[in-house]
């Protein structure tokens, strides 16, 4: 136990640990922010994993073809949105079960990207970093936050924009109404399923950027297992955060730190059981949900399809 606390102490004072943690956290946050929008509209969007993967692969292909980071990010958005389009139209135009669609999409996208990657073999490289003067000189966290690739900096725009559209626009109000009480929303003239589809498209955009960041900012090349279940961690960050944006981001930071512990601790000379550590975010979320279940409430119609005239 003392050892463990010592390890935590060492990690907290090492700059590399913050860099690692934020790399994971920001990747998660790209997906989780969009997922949060979709969940506020009442969709439990399981295909987030597939959107990440589609974004990552499209970014790699865009980079391979043009060598331009901007084009790669645009490709990633197209990739993420195309997965979103299937999910949205299958589950909220046709009324197919959203979990089946999501799970199928995850399998389909994994198959498709690994199949295409083996045929086309995209070659990419890590994007260069842009150091922001002064801010990057803050001790400990400065380099982790402000000495990054420009794709990383997009998170500083994505999170406020998502907050703004959900809480400060008419569209956002309608979106939240859809998630809480679709029958009433429908009666007051809101196209419930349309709002839900749009929520999923937002997830597609942000998860696509997340995938691009993963390939160009964190890993440097595309691999089949590049996402490796982290889409689910981004999904549970939203749940952990109790469906608030603040909590979601906190969840991403926490889980990002936990994921990076696996890398940081051995580097600092500590032995640790990786399996138990990896399951920590999941256990923490289950415990948090059980304790705060009475206080934290999911959007009332989360994961329930809306068909007019059916309660």
């Amino acid at each position: 136990m003392i050892d463990f606390l010592g390890a935590v102490g060492d990690v907290l004072t090492s700059e590399a640990a913050y860099i690692n943690a934020l790399t994971f956290a920001v990747f998660l946050a790209f997906g989780a922010t969009g997922e949060w929008v979709a969940e506020r509209s009442g969709t439990l969007n399981i295909s987030l994993e597939g959107m990440f993967l589609a974004g990552a692969f499209s970014a790699a292909m865009g980079m391979h073809q043009t060598g331009n980071e901007g084009v790669a990010v645009l490709c990633a958005i197209v990739g993420g949105v195309s997965v979103a389009a299937v999910q949205a139209n299958m589950s909220h135009r046709l009324v197919a079960n959203q979990f089946v669609v999501g799970l199928t999409l995850n399998i389909l996208v994994l198959g498709l990207t690994s199949f295409l990657a083996s045929e086309l073999d995209p070659v990419t490289r890590q994007a260069g970093t842009q150091r922001i003067p002064l801010l990057a000189d803050i001790p400990l966290v400065g380099a982790a936050l402000f000495d990054r690739t420009w794709i990383f900096y997009l998170i500083y725009a994505v999170v406020p924009i998502c907050w703004w559209i959900v809480f400060r626009t008419r569209w956002g109000l309608e979106l939240r109404a859809t998630g809480e009480n679709p029958q009433s929303a429908d009666v007051s003239g809101i196209d419930v399923n349309k709002r839900r589809r749009e929520g999923i498209y937002v997830t597609g955009v942000t998860a696509g950027i997340g995938g691009a960041y993963l390939v160009l900012g964190a890993v440097g090349q595309f691999e089949d297992s590049i996402v490796g279940g982290r889409g689910f961690i981004a999904l549970i960050a939203v749940i952990f955060g109790g469906w608030t944006l603040r909590g979601t981001i906190a969840g991403c930071l926490l889980f990002g730190a936990v994921l990076s512990f696996r890398l940081s601790l051995p580097a600092l000379g500590y032995e640790l059981n990786g399996d138990l550590l990896t399951s920590l975010p999941f256990v923490v979320t289950i415990v948090a949900m059980s304790i705060f279940a009475s206080r934290v409430r999911p959007p009332a119609s989360l994961a329930q399809p809306f068909i007019r005239g059916l309660k």
Partner: protein, 413 residues
């Protein structure tokens, strides 16, 4: 169909039933108007077709829709193969050879279909009760791990240990689903989320067990250094395999099919099945009628976990997965695929038998793809597209039926 009051006054005592009305006569054109001369909500259709013709047409439509969707899915897959320089005909032949045409391959496919079917049956039970269990992959892994512990670590062997192993698997799977059930009914935590989260926890937990000799790891002399696998099940602690027409498969296939019919019958014919369905259709009404949600819903979750666990145990003792050894990544997405089998077969255990076989065939067929030079991941694409294709027709038909009901005004709520 509603009968307008106008009809009774127009033809008193004519003995002419409005629903079996053939030919056109003058009255047919009046009936769109109600007694007070205003339009009724449902326009009268002169010359309605007979019920059997309607039915035939409906069946024809369903078959047509399914054919179009499946053809589109297969066509897209073929297009993908051709676009990347492969030959779709070769791929198709390789898939057929690997799954049914090659010698002994039907047996291999049956071996894969068994756990898929078991997972699907369990899922059908919990779905009927209106619960969304999507953690079968984890429940299956825990089941297999429990089975491996009882099969290898206690030093017992013999046919009765097979039974013990399977019971342990059932308990393991049920326990893992039970956590979700307990949280659902005591703390109100949605079971969708907990079952999903517990998948990863299960994988990490079994991974931990496979690193520690007091849990699952085989003794050092039986394995390569640093290899994280369990001991192999002893020869006499394996599910017997039989040979039929040159195809060899474990006898658990018969048990799985029997269980499928048993559950189908229990769902359709017993009070328990009725109560589960009540709970699934309308929890509030079910509660009023005396169906305790926690007891029946929790029970349904336990049953679905138990089936997933049993699938894990039979995978371990059946021999088609991991060579009677628990290895990392043992569930191999059988849990996820089994869940898809249940949902594609639309809650019917008997249909699930066929779908499980088809999905198993895709899996065993993919082993033969290497010879064609096409990446075997293409089968994931085919399977994914097929599932999406199979989801479309029922959704379309349901939507159309809904729209008709709304328009007729017969079922406004």
């Amino acid at each position: 169909m509603t009968v307008e009051p106008g009809h009774a006054t127009a033809q008193p005592g004519s003995g002419h039933h409005p629903d079996h009305h053939h030919g056109v006569d003058a009255d047919d054109f009046k009936r769109e108007l109600g007694t007070d001369g205003t339009l009724t909500e449902e326009p009268y259709h002169p010359n309605p077709s007979t019920p059997t013709a309607d039915r035939l047409q409906a069946i024809g439509e369903v078959v047509f829709l399914y054919t179009v969707c499946i053809a589109a899915a297969l066509g897209l897959s073929a297009l993908l193969v051709e676009a990347t320089g492969g030959s779709s005909a070769e791929v198709f032949n390789a898939l057929l050879d690997g799954s049914i045409r090659g010698p002994g391959r039907i047996g291999a496919t049956i071996g894969v279909a068994v756990p898929l079917l078991l997972v699907a049956i369990g899922t059908i039970v919990s779905n009927r009760a209106g619960l969304v269990n999507i953690g079968q992959e984890g429940q299956l892994y825990i089941g297999a791990a429990f089975g491996a512990y009882f099969g290898t670590k206690l030093g017992w062997s013999g046919p009765w240990v097979i039974l013990l192993l399977l019971v342990a698997s059932v308990v393991g799977g049920a326990l893992w689903a039970g956590i979700a059930g307990a949280l659902r009914y005591t703390r109100n935590v949605p079971e969708v989320l907990t079952t999903l989260l517990l998948v990863t926890v299960a994988a990490q937990l079994v991974g931990y067990g496979l690193k520690n000799q007091w849990l699952l790891l085989a003794p050092a002399e039986g394995r390569a250094n640093r290899q994280q696998i369990s001991q192999q099940l002893p020869e006499n602690t394996r599910i017997p395999r039989i040979e039929m027409f040159g195809n060899e498969f474990p006898i658990s296939a018969f048990i799985a099919i029997a269980l499928a019919f048993l559950i189908a019958a229990a769902m359709a014919r017993t009070v328990w099945g009725l109560r589960l369905r009540m709970l699934g259709h309308n929890p509030r009404t079910a509660q009023r009628a005396g169906v305790a949600a926690s007891r029946y819903g929790g029970g349904a979750l336990l049953v679905s976990g138990a089936f997933a666990g049993l699938a894990g145990g039979m995978m371990l003792a059946g021999g088609d997965f991991g060579n009677y050894t628990l290895v990392p990544g043992f569930p191999a997405e059988i849990g996820w695929t089994g869940l898809l089998v249940a949902l594609v077969s639309r809650q019917r255990a008997s249909v699930a038998i066929v779908i499980a076989f088809v999905f198993a065939a895709l899996r065993t067929g993919s082993g033969f793809l290497a010879a064609t030079g096409v990446e075997r991941r293409i089968t994931d694409v085919v399977q994914g597209l097929l599932v999406l294709a199979l989801l479309i027709p029922p959704a379309l038909l349901y939507l159309r039926q809904r729209r008709r009901q709304m328009n007729s005004g017969g079922d406004r709520t």
